[in-house]
Symmetry: C2
Subunit: 201 residues, 2 copies
């Protein structure tokens, strides 16, 4: 039996999402068919509006409402201008904001250097970061790219660009995650935790 086209095209569209295979896609499609109309309608509307209503901040390249030139954080008078935290993705800004421990501004690279995937410095918002620092007023740049091979390479590249400009460049600390278990920590993490050990107050 062929499925009706309305279902089949939904399954095909869902399968294109990352982490959703053919089985999950058909399970989701049949769930939506049985569920109340507004679940699929809300999702449909949200998807249709996604790109129309979203823009990138022209200062930090974080996502923001369409029609705004600068995002809420860049426009906030409460945030320090002198410290900029560089992250890979807008999701990282959300994670850092959740800590409520950072009161500076951000710069979203929109990716990470990856020779394997053919992503070089020009594909990221690196030039814009250098220009931002060159304009002055920034004293510290925190490199908060992921603690991965690509994230580290990007951080090294950025520090080479920024340090000659006389700005302080720092990197997020490495070590044991809070609530983690020393026994299960991998070798590299443990090594970093050792070499980065701090004095007890």
């Amino acid at each position: 039996m062929l499925l009706p086209e309305s279902i089949q095209s939904l399954i095909t569209a869902l399968e294109r999402l990352p982490g959703i295979g053919p089985k999950s896609a058909s399970r989701l499609a049949f769930y939506l068919l049985r569920a109340s109309e507004d679940i699929s309608q809300d999702l449909s509307t949200a998807l249709a509006n996604l790109k129309v209503n979203t823009a990138f901040c022209q200062e930090c390249f974080n996502i923001t409402k369409a029609g705004r030139e600068r995002c809420e954080i860049c426009e906030s008078p409460k945030r320090e201008d002198s410290i900029v935290c560089v992250v890979e993705e807008a999701l990282d800004v959300v994670a850092l904001e959740r800590t409520a421990g950072f009161h500076g501004k951000y710069h979203v690279l929109q990716g990470v250097l990856s020779p394997i995937e053919g992503i070089g410095p020009d594909d990221l918002k690196i030039k814009q970061l250098v220009e931002r620092v060159a304009r002055g007023g920034i004293q510290e740049v925190i490199l908060a790219t992921n603690p991965s091979m690509e994230g580290d390479a990007t951080a090294i590249y950025l520090s080479q660009q920024l340090e000659p400009m006389g700005v302080k460049v720092t990197r997020l600390a490495r070590g044991l995650p809070v609530g983690g278990d020393l026994e299960y920590a991998d070798q590299n993490t443990l090594l970093r935790a050792l070499s980065g050990r701090q004095a007890m107050n």
Copy 2:
């Protein structure tokens, strides 16, 4: 930081889907934001059309194109009228059709008896099945509900309704799954495989 409303409403809509938590929802939303426009547009259109273009067959309650009274299988002259396979969901029809081993017709109950969830016989298409059998022409009813507690209870209930009507009532065989491993089979499956053992030809 608050996410722009366009993203937040997409995350909220995605979170309502089964098996998608807050983390996967935001990962999917940001993926869609970065991905090409047509991925989100296709999904949006498919969702909007889902309920509009889908109907239930008035004979077997399988899903079919809107505007059709009976589904392809019920209308096909190649399928035997005398044998009806009773399943829980439309997805089960897809699974059985994939085997290419059944040439009769179907009856989709659209659920399963479940006292815990408050689903009784009147919430399923049981009355319609009894009426279909009463109309005559059906010689065998295969009960293909899931081999679960609820599926078994539903099968027992159905056989009590149908057997007095003089129709042959059968149930799908239980036993070891093909390609499975005896060592890893659970107790009940092994017990069923033993008691249902068949003569070697």
